[in-house]
């Protein structure tokens, strides 16, 4: 199967998954502080959009 992505590029599904995995590995190298900031965004998302009112949104600077 092939799919059309941004900039009119056509790639296979396998290629899409390979790129996703590459992005994950790159995100794994982010500074710890940035990862925690992203976690807080996820906590906000779960609390608001996900309606999980028991989720505690951490304080970060």
């Amino acid at each position: 199967m092939k799919i059309l992505i941004k900039d009119n590029e056509v790639i296979t599904l396998e290629e899409l998954y390979r790129r996703k995995e590459k992005t994950r590995k790159e995100m794994a190298k982010l500074p710890f502080e940035e990862k925690i900031r992203q976690l807080v965004k996820l906590q906000k998302l779960a609390h608001g959009w996900g309606n999980k009112k028991d989720v505690i949104i951490w304080k970060v600077s």
Partner: protein, 166 residues
Amino acid sequence: MKKTLEVINELKKERLIKDYAIGGAIGVMKWVEPFFTRDLDIFVIPIQQMTKKQIISFLPVYNYLKNKGYNKWIGQWLIIEGVSVEFLPAEGLAKESVKNAVEVEFENVKIKVMTPEYLIALLLIAGRDKDIRKIEMLLNQTDVDMNRLMKILTKYNLTEKFEKIR
């Protein structure tokens, strides 16, 4: 978060605990992409010697924190500077994980985080679906010293469990 970590460091400085390391989801997150979690797991080696029959009391820790104004509990979590923290006694594999944890910095605060190899071993023991997913993330997204991992798994009879999920 920075203040939370400073408060946790104080516990060691004040000799209320022997040592600590961050484990659980946040420990894993040090090594992999960010993902959702609710709490900060702090594995603690208490000052007192632990025996199997003994009840481990974190009361001196909680009293110290209470005196500093940290007295809000939500479920099993103590809220320290807006972060939900859980203290867990480190014994056996967890104790070894704390001893071999690496020092890293968070906004110039020195903290200890468990290594991927020890985290994998601890996650194997927990063994829930979400723990297995974290093991996969560690294996795929960070450098895992396989020799070191296999030594730990052999020591704690976890090799069979590990082979099943690979």
